[in-house]
């Protein structure tokens, strides 16, 4: 098989790419509710239904809470299940996020990241998903539209793996990626379906073998349920690598749990996630071309956190710059920064970390901003640079 035969090139928005992948992945049930900037996914899927191009059931629910609840019911019945949301919608689902993961249901969800109200804003930051960070879902952040498309396919494979059986959230920034039209090399359906197979859950709602789903626990057993989820999260790291490897076999594309640029030489290393990873690499390349020595580590797989792999890239640099597109109000720094500091401390590495908050509520982060931020860490860290809100108006 030559790879060239398996691709077709299209110009797609991020949302459209998700819908196309969902259609190709032979999903049984989609239950979703419209919310900007995710709505295109729902509309596109409804278009596929109208054209007879989607064989599954499309359930246009009356709320996000019911969207995920319907997904829980459908997934427990043994179906391949998808939903999509954003911001307030994800917040409204919050209760059900824990139900889906606690019941070990391999639901896949696209999250077009958007900042939370109040004040209401339609644009991107990561505070929606970061607000639900500890919900037991696998969390991946995509960087461009083709990666959104590829990751959507990968997430089904990863979640449905018997060693994993955890739901996944594929994150990509609202408008910046959800509405951005980019070149996507679409894959043929047959190899995708061959790669995925059909979901084969060990347990499902089946009158021939009645099972009780969603029992009540006591302090005598609850902790062990959570421990099993924690172990599945750990196992996910290895399965993620397998899934990427198998996906690469027929697509020729691989991303990694992290994307490392110049991490083996850089004196200043920036850790970031989401669409700004590419922008920051461009900034780093420009600086390096001018004789500087900086690097970028883009975190793709955020939960489970690939701590060993991250650490392996942090060993060379003198200064770490962490970039958070969400605010943990009242904390010392954002969630990515806390993860990095905790990883460094755990490894006995003591190096200065400059924690930067950026892009809140959709504020742009451009190549020049990247250069500026790298510049701030050039001569070591100054006082007050430990936790900086970059780009906020004075």
């Amino acid at each position: 098989m030559t790879l060239a035969q398996t691709v077709r090139v299209a110009a797609l928005q991020g949302d459209e790419a998700v819908a196309e992948a969902v259609r190709q992945c032979d999903v049984d049930v989609v239950a979703a509710y419209p919310i900007t900037p995710q709505t295109i996914i729902v509309e596109k899927l409804a278009e596929f239904v109208a054209d007879g191009r989607f064989a599954g059931e499309f359930v246009p629910v009356e709320s996000e809470h019911s969207a995920l609840s319907a997904c829980v019911g459908a997934s427990a019945t043994g179906a391949r299940v998808f939903t999509a949301t954003s911001s307030q919608g994800l917040a409204y689902m919050h209760e059900m996020l824990y139900n889906a993961s606690g019941m070990r249901l391999p639901i896949v969800m696209a999250v077009a990241n958007r900042a939370l109200s109040a004040p209401l804003v339609l644009n991107a930051d990561h505070s929606d998903m970061m607000g639900s960070r500890d919900c037991g879902w696998i969390q991946v952040y995509a960087e461009n539209v083709e990666e959104i498309y590829d990751r959507t396919i990968q997430m089904f494979k990863l979640s449905e793996d018997p060693r994993v059986m955890l739901p996944s959230a594929l994150n990509f920034e609202g408008f910046i990626l959800s509405h951005d039209k980019e070149r996507v090399r679409l894959l043929e359906e047959a190899p995708i379906r061959n790669f995925l197979g059909r979901p084969r859950p060990k347990y499902r709602l089946d009158p021939d073998a009645p099972m009780t789903f969603g029992a009540i626990a006591t302090p005598d057993s609850y902790y062990e349920f959570r421990m099993q989820q924690a172990e599945a999260m750990k196992a996910t790291l290895g399965v993620f690598e397998e899934v990427e490897r198998d996906f690469e076999k027929f697509s020729g594309r691989r991303y990694g749990a992290v994307d490392a640029y110049n991490t083996d030489r850089a004196d200043r290393l920036m850790v970031i996630n989401g669409s700004a990873g590419g922008t920051m690499r461009a900034a780093a390349r420009a600086l390096n071309a001018a004789g500087e020595n900086v690097g970028v580590l883009a975190i793709k797989l955020y939960r489970p956190f690939p701590v060993d792999e991250v650490l392996s890239h942090l060993s060379r640099c003198k200064t770490v710059i962490t970039m958070d597109r969400s605010i943990s109000l009242g904390a010392q720094s954002g969630p990515i920064s806390e993860d990095i500091k905790s990883a460094l401390l755990g490894a006995g590495e003591n190096k200065p970390v400059m924690s930067v908050t950026y892009g809140i509520g959709g504020r742009d982060l451009l190549i020049d901003d990247g250069k500026k931020i790298f510049g701030m860490a050039k001569d070591g860290l100054q006082d007050g640079a430990g936790n900086m809100m970059y780009g906020v108006k004075g």
Binding site: D28, V29, A31, A55, G56, E57, V59, P60, V61, E62, S63, H65, S66, A67, S69, A70, C71, V72, G73, A74, S75, A76, T77, G78, A79, V81, E95, M96, N99, M103, R198, L205, D206, P207, A209, P210, M211, T212, F213, G214, A215, I216, A217, T218, S221
Partner: protein, 325 residues
């Protein structure tokens, strides 16, 4: 097409809800579940809202359910059932599963109040399932707090009886009317005291293509304050006093399935329950009258609705051909 139940001997001997569950002695909910599921096919899938029934029947590592059963939250049982139904449809097309009857159990809190949006959405979308509200008229699982299903005048721990106020000031929400407004093919009330009526209604509901609804009174010995040996008697009195009329709404047509031409006094029902004891103090006489008037008015409303909707929605009567001159 559905089968009427004539006698007890016809009932399956298979036990859908095993003994040994942790519901209180004299709990109406377990009787509701048994009667409903004994009338339903054995391959029924059950979805359950959080509540007494759920916490008492599925305490890990035990389960009383001899049916595939799913619970995930308080307010979403109808949405979960939507997902189950949709999944079965999709999987059936692939030959990976068959359709099965789906029955949802929710208490009054999970149905009248917190789960109402999910129920309304699911009914509007037309998912095929039978939703059974077992109505014990308050949040009993958390310790007797008022719900939209608590009747006027009833004591609960959030509608206490004191010198300034006595019991719930508001009327019970008219759930069936709201359900009927969704134009579902079948909605009915039922009582465990009239088990044949209840089971026939379950079968009728399951024979319909679309969402159906059963509102069953489920007396709560703890919350209503009555002798736990009198659960069925309590249900029967609710019917015989017209406090809880048995009726159905089939394709828009109302029908009293157990007409009560000469009702017992409402007091007979209320007096057996500690939650209403304050109503019989002289200073609360007018409140008792209001409750009694509400019972009379509601029954008259149902009689009138039966006449009106019978004429409105009945198949058109064949008009005699005009005589030639």
């Amino acid at each position: 097409v559905y089968e009427q139940i004539k006698g007890l001997k016809e009932l399956p001997t298979d036990e859908p809800l095993s003994p040994g569950h942790r519901l209180c002695p004299g709990c109406g909910a377990s009787v509701v579940v048994r009667q409903v599921l004994l009338a339903a096919p054995k391959d029924t899938i059950v979805a359950n809202a959080t509540g007494c029934l759920e916490v008492s029947t599925a305490l890990y590592p035990y389960s009383a359910w001899n049916r595939p059963w799913i619970h995930s939250a308080f307010e979403n049982a109808a949405a979960v059932a939507s997902g189950v139904e949709s999944a079965l449809k999709a999987l059936e097309r692939r030959g990976e599963a068959k359709q099965h009857p789906i029955i949802v159990f929710g208490g009054d809190g999970g149905t009248y109040d917190i789960g109402f949006q999910a129920l309304s959405g699911a009914m509007e979308r037309g998912h095929k399932f039978l939703y059974v509200c077992y109505d014990n008229e308050a949040y009993m699982n958390t310790g007797i707090q008022r719900s939209g299903g608590t009747p006027m005048g009833a004591w609960t721990t959030t509608t206490q009886v004191g010198s300034a106020r006595g019991g719930k000031p508001e009327a019970k929400k008219d759930l069936i009317s709201i359900v009927v407004a969704h134009r579902v093919p079948y909605a009915a009330t039922a009582s465990i005291s009239h088990w044949r009526d209840l089971m026939t209604k379950v079968r009728k509901a399951l024979s319909k293509d679309g969402p159906t609804f059963l509102h069953v009174m489920a007396p709560c010995t703890r919350g209503w304050r009555f002798d736990s040996a009198k659960t069925v008697r309590m249900s029967r009195l609710a019917v015989e006093t017209r406090f809880f009329p048995l009726y159905e709404v089939e394709d828009g047509i109302y029908k009293l399935t157990f007409p009560v031409p000469s009702p017992k006094p409402v007091e007979e029902y209320l007096k057996l329950q500690g939650r209403y004891s304050h109503l019989f103090l002289p200073q609360n006489a007018s409140e008792l009258d209001t409750i009694k008037k509400g019972v009379t008015d509601n029954y008259r409303r149902l009689e009138r609705l039966s006449q009106i909707t019978g004429q409105l929605y009945a198949p058109e009567v064949q008009q005699p051909a005009p005589r030639s001159a």
